[in-house]
């Protein structure tokens, strides 16, 4: 089973991934799956009624708003990084957490590199499929690099301006 880096209790751990990524052309295996937005819109209802956990992969150009009313029943939203330098998934993650109050897993998929760990964690990602093979320890090291942050974001960290007031 592929491994997933998961943010849990303030640290990063390696987990067996319970979900299978399934492309649109491939027929669905049993169990928990992550599927495209298009497929979810066509088949989501049925899959959920079967009692499986369903996750949705959100491509960079797809709008998170399209999922708004389904979020409470989606177990995983996986905004994709087609390239590490395509930053649209950061906005998707923040909106999921901050605007829609999404409590499920927000998983980084695609060109997911440890150099970006801190940005991802701050935007509300809590699960990672590192494309650079980095370990949970390396991921955690990168994510915790900075003792201070300057902005309010989805991770709830106290920004510098609030630290200063304390």
């Amino acid at each position: 089973m592929p491994k997933l880096v998961k943010f849990r209790d303030g640290g990063m751990i390696a987990l067996d991934d319970a979900f299978t990524h399934v492309d649109d052309e491939v027929s669905l295996p049993p169990g928990d799956v992550i599927i495209s937005l298009t497929r979810f819109q066509a088949e989501g209802e049925r899959l959920l009624s079967e009692g499986r956990s369903v996750g949705v992969r959100l491509e960079a150009g797809e709008e998170v708003e399209a999922l708004a009313y389904d979020l409470p029943r989606i177990a995983v939203v996986a905004p994709a990084f087609p390239k590490f330098r395509d930053g649209r998934a950061y906005t998707a993650a923040r909106l999921l957490r901050e605007r829609y109050g999404y409590k499920g897993e927000v998983r980084a998929v695609g060109d997911v590199l440890r150099e970006q760990a801190q940005f991802m964690v701050r935007c509300g990602f809590d699960a990672f499929e590192p494309a650079d093979g980095s370990s949970p320890e390396q991921w955690e090291h990168a994510a915790r690099r900075f003792r201070h942050v300057y902005q309010r974001a989805a991770d709830g960290r106290t920004p510098a301006f609030a630290e200063r007031e304390a």
Binding site: A60, E63, F84, R85, D86, G87, R88, Y90, T91, R94, E98, R99, E115, Q116, Q118, F119, R122, C123, R145, F146, R147, H148, V149, Y150, Q151, R152, A153, A160, F161, E163, R164, E165
Partner: protein, 551 residues
């Protein structure tokens, strides 16, 4: 100057440690140059034609003496004894060894400096009026807003991988010394009728391949709502800016494609959803304001007898004062511009020794405050008139008293083909040949304000589109040619220049500028600048002069 607190210092220390580890991974071979490239580019480290170039951020162009001395020391220790001030008010070292960069970043952090976000598709160094805190024209000190934006934009979790780089300028004076209208966002402080402070917000200005003057999308944004509004603009851009073609990825392309009105509508809709959660609390804005150590001015008479006497006795001082000294808000003080455009030298370059001289002068006579302008000069914003003769003498001794601010030899030029891997043509030698051609200072003063800007390629780092005379280097079958454009401006009267005609070979450029100047001197009326005359007469007489003999 803004005084860094412990948090700011620890943030920089963490960044330096991170980069040291990243360089170690590269040097050990754990990662390839391809993998390292995006990492080094997050730290302003470029691989150029001959060596690594390190671009150091000078936030809103503001430096203390201690910082400038450290830059001088780095120039001597790790480079060839000089540095290059850029149009983003940063400093570039062009001869850096990769293995030295972690130490350099540590040395920078020790004086509250860094290279964060001096490259990459992120929010770059914010530009502010170099006369901030010194000019009587300003409504508020724009550095407070620039510093708050520096912090907000530093490693911004959502906006560090935008479609393309992103530049913000803020000014509070009617005379725009920041080129706000050709920035991705230009902010101009305004006062409402009831006295409240706000920003006029312009978005989508820019140079490069497709120059645009940024349209205003909001006439008045209350200052305490700045950060939620910036977030709304950046979010619309991050989601909808083009990512399929890097030449169409700047926000100006999105704004032009949607139209300013529709872009504004999308921003306002997003802004409404964001609410006030992203705004900085007033307490923090007050803290930033207070963290700028206030300049302490003496009560002085408006006229300094010592200065007047010295000026009457020294034509050189008088000329320097006419061109490089500007009025200060406090009686008995002046703003002193230091030209980095000595005739025959590289525009924007300063030697380590010159940096030390400026640092010493700032400490002794200028309240420890130095500014870098986007026109690649330095400023001592608070000098007593009484001290001007001494300051001038010290500058002159260091080759820093060139009296040419805003004159024809005060040329902006990008590094061009002498350094840059992207360039098609050299820019520096062209600037040097024009400056040599107009080295007669009486003639230069007679010509008056004339802004020449030179870029070595279409990326327009030398801002040629907004030069009164713009010069663009192009490659024609392996030969360097230069295309002239006239009538541009990056100031409050911003406009993109018009191309005059076919490109000229390098050896005809200075001569062509001479012909253009002759037309101006012949045609001008009243107190017209070159730009005013051009705008009144149109291109015809200028075109005629340059291309007549070719026909």
């Amino acid at each position: 100057m803004y005084r860094y607190d412990t948090l700011d210092k620890e943030f920089l220390a963490d960044r330096a440690t991170e980069f040291r580890e990243q360089v170690a991974r590269r040097l050990s071979g754990e990662i390839t140059e391809d993998q390292f490239k995006p990492i080094r580019l997050m730290n302003g480290l470029y691989l150029q034609l001959h060596a690594y170039m390190l671009r150091i951020a000078i936030p809103y162009g503001s430096l203390s003496s201690r910082q400038l001395r450290r830059l001088a020391w780095i120039a001597r220790t790790y480079d060839k004894g000089y540095g290059h001030f850029t149009t983003r008010t940063n400093l570039q070292f062009h001869w850096i060894k990769l293995g030295d960069t972690p130490d350099i970043l540590d040395h920078l952090a020790s004086v509250d400096m860094h290279a964060i976000q001096t490259s990459g598709n992120c929010i770059r160094n914010v530009t502010a009026d170099p006369y901030a805190g010194a000019t009587a024209e300003e409504l508020d000190d724009p550095r407070i807003w620039a510093e708050a934006m520096r912090q907000w934009s530093s490693l911004h979790p959502e906006f560090s991988f935008l479609p393309r780089k992103f530049k913000i300028a803020v000014t509070a004076a009617p005379k725009d010394r920041t080129a706000a209208k050709v920035h991705d966002i230009g902010l101009v402080l305004k006062r409402a009728r009831d006295g409240a402070l706000g920003f006029e917000v312009m978005v989508g200005g820019g140079l490069g391949r497709t120059p645009h003057v940024g349209p205003t999308i909001r006439e008045f944004l209350p200052v305490n709502r700045l950060f939620s509004y910036l977030e709304a603009i950046l979010r619309v851009y991050n989601r909808h800016g083009r990512r399929d073609n890097m030449f169409k990825a700047r926000i100006k392309i999105l704004v032009a494609a949607l139209g300013a009105e529709e872009f504004a509508r999308q921003v306002e809709a997003e802004w409404e959803k964001i609410g006030t959660a992203s705004d900085l609390p007033d307490t923090e804005l007050a803290r930033v304001r207070a963290a700028f150590s206030p300049a302490s001015f003496e009560t002085l008479p408006a006229r300094s007898e010592a200065f007047e006497t010295a000026k009457a006795a020294s034509p050189a001082l008088a000329r320097f004062v006419r061109n490089n000294v500007k009025p200060h808000k406090k009686p008995g003080y002046a703003i002193v511009e230091i030209s980095l455009k000595a005739i025959g030298e590289t525009p924007g370059d300063a030697t380590a020794d010159q940096m030390d001289v400026v640092a010493d002068l700032a400490e002794r006579y200028g309240q420890d405050d130095i500014r870098v302008t986007h026109e690649q000069n330095l400023v001592l914003p608070h000098v007593k008139l009484d001290d001007l003769p001494d300051v001038h003498a010290a500058l002159a001794a260091a080759g820093l008293a060139t009296p040419n601010i805003n004159l024809i030899s005060d040329i902006i030029a990008c590094p061009g083909l002498d350094y840059c891997a992207l360039a098609n043509a050299r820019a520096i030698p062209v600037a040097q040949s024009i400056a040599e051609h107009f080295r007669d200072q009486d003639r230069a003063e007679e010509i008056g304000e004339l802004k020449i800007k030179i870029s070595g390629c279409i990326n327009a780092c030398g801002h040629h589109h907004v030069g009164h005379i713009g010069i663009l280097g192009v490659d024609k079958k392996g030969e360097e040619f230069y295309q002239l454009s006239l009538g541009g401006s990056g100031a409050e009267d911003a406009a993109v220049g018009q191309i005059l005609g076919p490109a000229l070979p390098a050896n005809r450029v200075a001569e062509a500028v001479d012909l253009l100047v002759d037309v101006y001197l012949r045609e001008r009326t009243g107190g017209e600048r070159f730009l005013d005359t051009f705008r009144r007469t149109g291109a015809a007489p200028f075109k005629e002069a340059v291309y007549a003999e070719a026909r």
